[in-house]
């Protein structure tokens, strides 16, 4: 095997290849429809059958956290994190709550709360 081919397995390839291998090549998580700011929280700290990436997600999600923050913390691509998180949710190892009224206009109550919150900063 040439040196060039070995380069595929080094650090440069790892972060790209490994996570997509863990998801079985899936990049869609339509079963749950996780958004960037869907909040998730782990119900368990550990599960024996999980891959390291999923275990890492369980650890960073011990407190409620958004999907995008979880992705930043485990340093994996967003698409991969969404797939792994939806698997964890499907297995009842995690729960989620979607963004406020993604489809409808947000209520004046929510808008007022945001306005008040920004003023108080």
């Amino acid at each position: 095997m040439s040196v060039d081919h070995e380069a595929w397995f080094d650090e440069a390839a790892g972060p790209l290849v490994r996570p997509y291998a863990v998801t079985g090549g899936r990049t869609k998580s339509d079963t749950i429809g996780l958004d960037l700011i869907t909040l998730v929280v782990a119900l368990r700290e550990h599960a024996d059958h999980l891959e390291p990436e999923s275990l890492q997600l369980l650890r960073v999600c011990q407190q409620p956290i958004s999907v995008v923050e979880a992705a930043a913390q485990v340093d994996l691509p967003l698409q991969v994190v969404k797939v792994l998180l939806s698997d964890l949710i499907t297995q009842n190892l995690m729960i989620h709550r979607s963004a406020v009224q993604v489809t409808d206009a947000p209520s004046q109550h929510v808008l007022q709360a945001v306005l008040d919150g920004i003023r108080k900063l």
Binding site: D4, H5, A7, W8, L16, G33, D35, L36, I37, T38, L39, V40, V41, P64, S66, V68, E69, A71, A72, D75, P77, L78, Q79, I89, I95, H96, R97, S98, A99, V100, Q101, V102, T103, A105, P106, S107, Q108, V110, L111, Q112, A113, V114, L115, D116, G117, I118, R119, L121
Partner: protein, 193 residues
């Protein structure tokens, strides 16, 4: 769409900060975020050679789209996220996800390169997402009147336009307060209840 057993979780809302590359989006997010701006990355593989051909691996470019964001805890039940859009226009697909469900947007403009925020203005106008235009006052920027900037951007008269210093927390707060006032006025006009 809250799942049945998730009542113990708070809810989240988001505001998008858009504008051209290097205009100060991440600076603005960082000026009010309770955590240093976080970054998540999406890997985009731009294949320029056959994917199955291992010898072509070197010719495949993996582009990283960085997404910078900050967080403000509004109250125990509500978290506000601020997202900076990727600066490069070819990552429009990320804008869709960012804008979906957003309360509103800030278009950050630099008068030295006003044209760099045209795409953002167009995008939010087409989507009907309420936005304000904040002109980041760089020290060596040319100074224009509001009307000149409005004219150059062809802004609707109802779209708020204000000057700001993206580094300054109070200034960014003023921009966000202006945006929220605009969002609420638009929602009232639309007869939201």
């Amino acid at each position: 769409m809250a799942s049945g057993n998730s009542e113990r979780l708070a809810s989240a809302v988001k505001i998008v900060v858009a504008g051209g590359f290097g205009v100060g989006k991440t600076t603005m997010v960082g000026s009010v975020s309770e955590v240093p701006p976080l970054r998540t990355e999406e890997l985009i593989t731009e294949a320029s050679a056959g994917v199955d051909d291992l010898s072509g691996v070197e010719a495949k470019h993996t582009t990283t789209v960085a997404l910078d964001f900050g967080r403000i805890t509004i109250n125990p039940e509500l978290i506000l996220y601020l997202f900076g859009t990727p600066g490069q226009n070819r990552f429009w697909f990320m804008w869709d996800e960012l804008a979906r469900g957003a309360l509103g947007a800030v278009v950050l403009a630099d008068t030295r390169r006003l044209d760099s925020c045209f795409p953002a203005v167009d995008f939010f106008e087409r989507r009907g997402l309420p936005f304000v235009v904040a002109v980041n006052c760089f020290d060596d920027a040319y100074h224009y009147t509001d009307d000149e900037v409005r004219g150059a951007l062809d802004l609707d008269p109802h779209v708020p336009l204000l000057l700001c210093d993206a580094r300054d927390r109070e200034s960014t707060k003023t921009v966000l307060v202006t945006l929220m006032g605009h969002v609420m006025a638009q929602a009232r006009m639309a007869g939201a209840h």
